[in-house]
């Protein structure tokens, strides 16, 4: 078996092309990958706001609460955060407010995109 290792910053770069779920899986590959940080994060929180309990939007990369926690530990040096929110109007405003506050503490953040559209109508 070959013994090459890739430095953490290459894994970080790779993770910027992956969903949070795939980036989390990647962090279990080796020691260097376990130190990866998020430069770009695309998060779609899971919310079951419908009467039948189904998400308001369908997406294969929905981010559960554990995923948010995982991402929040690694986004200190993020340059781009993209959130697609799918909550009701009231909770959406809370989310936007809390995410805007969280983003203010990220020193390298260049872009915070909050996409509040949903299949049931948008702001």
């Amino acid at each position: 078996m070959r013994t090459p290792m890739l430095p953490s910053d290459i894994w970080t770069h790779v993770a910027s092309f992956l969903s949070i779920k795939d980036a989390a899986r990647l962090s279990g590959v080796c020691r260097d990958a376990s130190r990866l940080q998020l430069e770009h994060a695309y998060l779609i929180p899971v919310a079951r706001a419908d009467d039948d309990g189904s998400p308001l939007i369908e997406h294969t990369d929905l981010t559960p609460a554990e995923g948010f926690l995982w991402a929040s530990r690694r986004w200190a040096s993020a340059r781009v955060l993209h959130m697609r929110l799918q909550y009701s109007d009231a909770s959406r405003k809370e989310w936007m407010s809390s995410m805007t506050q969280a983003a203010a503490s990220l020193s390298r953040l260049e872009k915070l995109a909050l996409d509040c559209s949903s299949e049931r109508g948008a702001d």
């Binding site: 013994t3 090459p4 890739l6 770069h13 092309f17 795939d22 899986r25 990647l26 590959v29």
Partner: protein, 166 residues
């Protein structure tokens, strides 16, 4: 204009244009240092690259020369042709990245060492394509990586990432 020679770790030399060399930020920085120390000397500038083999260097230089050509075309072409040019560039890049996992590994390391941002983006995107949907063990197998975490560390990471593993 002074010639630039990039020397691979096996001694093979490659003459490249200043324009193409400027895409490698590590080389551009070395050139600045050499220019500063040698003044207006017209001898070829030889840049030794101890971390890059000849085969990989050829591939990197092919990228730099082609990207420079595309850059010039983009600058010279009218707005109406930009979309077509973008498609041409994407097609060329797709063809360029038809490499084995081993070649991809060497290419990404070279792009990182030589600091060629556009090539690094292309390589890491290609790596992400090969990683998507795979478990940590499958990624290790795909890239021939040796496990570097202890079983205890691996188990700890696995437990905290259970949400992503299902």
């Amino acid at each position: 204009m002074r010639n630039i020679v990039l020397r691979a770790n096996d001694g093979a030399d490659h003459v490249i244009s200043v324009a193409a060399a400027s895409l490698c930020k590590t080389v551009a920085s070395l050139l600045q240092d050499l220019e500063a120390s040698k003044g207006e000397d017209t001898d070829p500038l030889i840049v030794p690259l101890p971390n890059v083999c000849n085969c990989t260097l050829q591939k990197v230089l092919g990228f730099c020369e082609q990207q420079r050509a595309f850059d010039e075309l983009c600058t010279a072409s009218p707005a109406a042709q930009q979309a077509d040019l973008t498609r041409q560039i994407q097609a060329w890049q797709m063809e360029y990245m038809q490499v084995s996992t081993d070649e991809l590994y060497h290419l990404v390391m070279a792009a990182h060492y030589l600091n060629v941002p556009r090539l690094l983006d292309l390589c890491t995107d290609a790596m992400a394509e090969r990683i998507r949907g795979k478990s940590p063990a499958q990624v290790r197998e795909c890239f021939g990586l040796k496990p570097s975490l202890s079983p205890e560390e691996e188990e700890e990471i696995r437990r905290s990432n259970l949400w992503a593993l299902n």
